[in-house]
Symmetry: C2
Subunit: 135 residues, 2 copies
DNA sequence: CTTTGTGCAAATTCTTTGCACCAAA
DNA sequence: TTTGGTGCAAAGAATTTGCACAAAG
């Protein structure tokens, strides 16, 4: 948890008990969790934690650039603590989201465009995961 | 509207008054509209139209492959009648969504992956649009 | 103290569901 | 008729808001 504390400081985020717990969860569970998943995972050990705080915390993390919000899931917002260039795959069947790291680096290049000032990219793939093919 | 009628048949979709009206709107207004935008645009001339029907209709269009549902907007589902390979740009300021057609064709290639059976890709760019830079 | 963070409850927004009625074949 | 389509009202799920209290400096 101390690591999370330090980690937050790198992004100029004042660490609180709640913020460190959320960041700790994100660092140790790289499953692109939803707000609810984070809340449900932490609330047993932090019974007073409120979902509002989880929302506030992730908004702050995104604003400070510590976490990336993913659009790949239409239902819920999902958060990724890995802010390096990589893509995602979402299984249509079970909804799980996985990282894809082995794309050609120039996939992530931002195109020049005279009508828009482009500052970021999100590459999403869809299909069926190994586990769901087996079933 | 007759065109929409024919267009729907290409995708084995039985045309009804409502379905043709929705498809006609999509074909003539390529703004990646939300359900609400479609509903609000059509309801003046179709006062009995219900939002449920708009939902049903777009689910059907997506299922039949006539329309693509976009994940780029976390708030609302957005629909694109152009199913050819292209990317999208979303303005962080005004929320408008624009097409990007001039990417290298191999951007849309689906990677081989032993853990997932990948069948589609969505490439999304984010930033500020021309109009919002001006303001 | 004073500012910032947290948490509860209520409100809002988007989407889905159940069911009755309507329309087309 | 029988099947499929439409539309209303209610339910459900995710997120946001307002405000009071707690914590940290």
């Amino acid at each position: 948890m101390l690591e999370s504390h330090q980690y937050l400081r790198q992004f100029s985020i004042k660490p609180s008990v709640q913020r460190s717990a959320v960041m700790n969860f994100l660092l140790k569970n790289r499953i692109h969790p939803t707000i609810d998943e984070i809340y449900l995972a932490l609330s047993p050990s932090m019974p007073t934690l409120s979902k509002t705080t989880v929302y506030n915390t992730l908004d702050l993390f995104v604003e400070k650039g510590a976490v990336r919000a993913l659009a790949i899931d239409e239902k819920n917002a999902r958060y990724d603590v890995d802010i390096s260039a990589h893509a995602h795959f979402k299984c249509r069947s079970c909804g799980s989201i996985h990282d894809i790291f082995d794309l050609n680096a120039n996939m992530y290049q931002l195109p020049e465009n005279k009508s828009f000032k482009i500052d970021s990219i999100e590459i999403s793939y869809f299909g069926i995961c190994e586990h769901c093919i087996g079933n």
